[in-house]
Amino acid sequence: MSERVVILGARVVDPVSGTDDVRDVVVADGRIAGPEAADGAERIDAEGLVLAPGLVDLHAHLREPGDEHKETVETGTRAAAAGGFTAVAAMANTVPVTDHAAIVHEVRDLAAAAGLADVFPVGAITTGLAGETLAEMGEMVDAGVRVFSDDGRSVPTARLLRNALVYATAFPVEVVIAEHAEDASLVEDGHMHEGAVSASLGLAGRPAAAEEIAVARDLAIARATGGRLHLCHLSTARAVDLVRRAKTEGVRVTAEVTPHHLTFTDEDLRTYDTHLKMNPPLRTAEDREALRAGVADGTIDVIATDHAPHAVEEKEAEFDRSPPGTIGLETALAVVLTELVHPGVIPLARAIDALSVAPARILRAADHGGALDPGRPANLVLFDPGDTWTVEPPFVSKARNSAFTGRTLRGRVRATMLRGAFTVADGKPTR
């Protein structure tokens, strides 16, 4: 299955070893090989292209089991590959919820059968995502789960979150508790950022304070317990400030942001475009700038897609009845290049770090996000940083709900390789 190829003349960007130069990379038997293996290998001219460790998405909704009409593990991982990803963390809000080992095994088996990207199921913190009792985390850790999250809502009480963080320290491996940080009582029935735009549109708001309160609470608990906390999809300037300060104080916290929060603001919602409805909501231009600065200075470790596929008819509804979220796997790299790298907000190596190295470290995905050294698994992405394209449906994903539809992006995936086998070649999924 795996090819023997030599990738010639690509700019190799590998933040782990600090590499950023033009060289040839040889792949043989699913691994990166030394130059001696280049004889007789297929030659790929990659001049002008960038070769980097395959991207790792810390936050995707693959919808299977339960919501296969939106996405399946197979279609979701094919979309991931199309976007340059070789590993994806699959969120726990499946039906039934990923709150026990059987679902963990099922999701991973579906991914293995598809063979398009490695999938790391995220376990629920609480049984049924109900926010009442802790799920059986130990069983899921044994099944390989390293990240737990009740994504979609915050763990409702400080006590429950504290117990989750403390309980998770029992395991011999580092286990991360990932929080969707929004105070539930302040966002109830809210559909967008609360501010001048929501007031004018007559849409109930989700105030920035809801995130700030939850982030402050979660950081206080992480500080008090020494637990390992990850904050999902930050959206406000003050939350970035809180995380920045907590990190200097030694709190064990990492944080992520989505490509859409780095791109859009609440002003973009004036057309009631349901594709721009998100939780947490798109915020103000000031917040967007703070998020970009947070990525630049490393306060925000990870850029994750929050890939949230929905059926066409679900998004083609009234704004307050439409489910939140956008797909993102196929556009994440191009958005980061367009919004952050090309304008000079962050260097390319930082982008690869945020999209591959840092999320792989949090997921404990040892085969991903690593150095491109001989002997390492050949999980790679090859992309043209300057190729310009316009986002249009259809997508490789089963869903079409992309917030980026109609936008022109600069940067396009040419090939993705999972353990030496092309999942994407010539810019198209191989199967």
Partner: protein, 308 residues
């Protein structure tokens, strides 16, 4: 005028004057024995009322009928919508039936704008969620202009649950467009935090505002809001913000008392205040028909000579 009437933001001061002047010419039709002109003969107007409303639907129905349009009433209960049909599919069905105008009332903010993406018909917003209710604002402007002679410089207070009021949003925009001086009054929990950005004043002291007003516009306060902790009790609301007899007596003699209905007598307005001569609440209803005739006529491009 645009193809649709979705928001008072869509209208310039000149547009508003044209609508009010046209309404004035139609008011007389309502006083005839045969209350009908052939202006929209052969045109089809659909009343798509997906949220319960009696007065606005009847007002639009009468307006369309007095212009000789064919009127179809489509409401949520007992229709395909109750069977789970989406707004888009409903819209496409109405489109296929040849609707020239769709008057939509819906509990979701923004749904009239979404409708314009799916149909060719002219769309009139008859109230969308907590967003806007432009025809109500226009009939209120009509009533103020008729009673007080002008709109520019009028001092108007809008009192009550501004946060959840589509009427307050549309009326504020319309009044500001026409150069009036608007003050929003209510408990701070029910005033949008960014309201000063609308070009209006905000006050929490109704007694300080009332003596200087030309119009006090009282909004309906839903008891539901108390459960959601916006104010402690209906009793306290009435005491702090209700238009009591004492407060009504503080109004200048020429000032109008207005309410979009339906009223909660004893909550936001005392029963005998609602019935006193300064109150023009019944006239608001009558004027509503003329204003809606004007809007249908202007949007559907009815022939002026048929309007006589």
């Amino acid at each position: 005028m645009n193809d649709h009437l979705l928001s008072m933001h869509d209208l310039t001061a000149a547009d508003v004057v044209r609508i009010l002047d046209t309404a004035e010419s139609f008011r007389e039709v309502g006083t005839r024995v045969i209350k009908k002109v052939p202006a929209l003969r052969g045109r089809t107007v659909v009343n798509l009322f997906l949220e319960n409303s009696t007065r606005t639907r009847i007002s639009f129905e009468l307006a369309a009928k007095r212009l000789s349009a064919d009127v179809i009433n489509f409401s949520a209960s007992g229709s395909s919508v109750a069977k789970g049909e989406s707004l888009k599919d409903t819209a496409l069905t109405l489109q296929a039936m040849g609707a020239d105008a769709i008057v939509i009332r819906h509990s979701s903010s923004g749904s009239p704008l979404q409708l314009t993406r799916w149909v060719d018909a002219h769309v009139l917003n008859a109230g969308d969620g907590t967003h806007e209710h432009p025809t109500q604002a226009l009939l209120d402007l009509y009533t103020m202009r008729e009673k007080l002679g002008h709109l520019e410089g009028l001092r108007v207070a809008i009192v009550g649950d501004v946060l959840h009021s589509r009427v307050a949003r549309s009326l504020s925009v319309g009044l500001v467009t026409m150069g009036a001086d608007v003050t929003l009054v209510g408990p701070p929990t029910l005033i949008p935090p960014d309201a000063p950005g609308w070009g209006v004043h905000v006050s929490y002291d109704i007694d300080g505002v009332i003596p200087k007003l030309d119009v006090v516009y009282v909004l309906r306060v839903q008891r539901e809001r108390q459960r959601l902790e916006y104010f402690p009790s209906v009793r306290e609301y009435a005491r702090l913000f209700g238009l009591s007899r004492r407060r009504a007596a503080m109004l200048p003699e020429h000032a109008l008392i207005m309410h979009p209905g339906p009223m909660n007598r004893g909550v936001e307005i005392d029963s005998d205040v609602a019935d006193q001569p300064a109150s023009v609440i019944e006239e608001q209803v009558t004027n509503g028909i003329a204003v809606r005739m004007a809007l249908l006529f202007l949007l559907l491009g009815g022939r002026r000579e048929d309007a006589a």
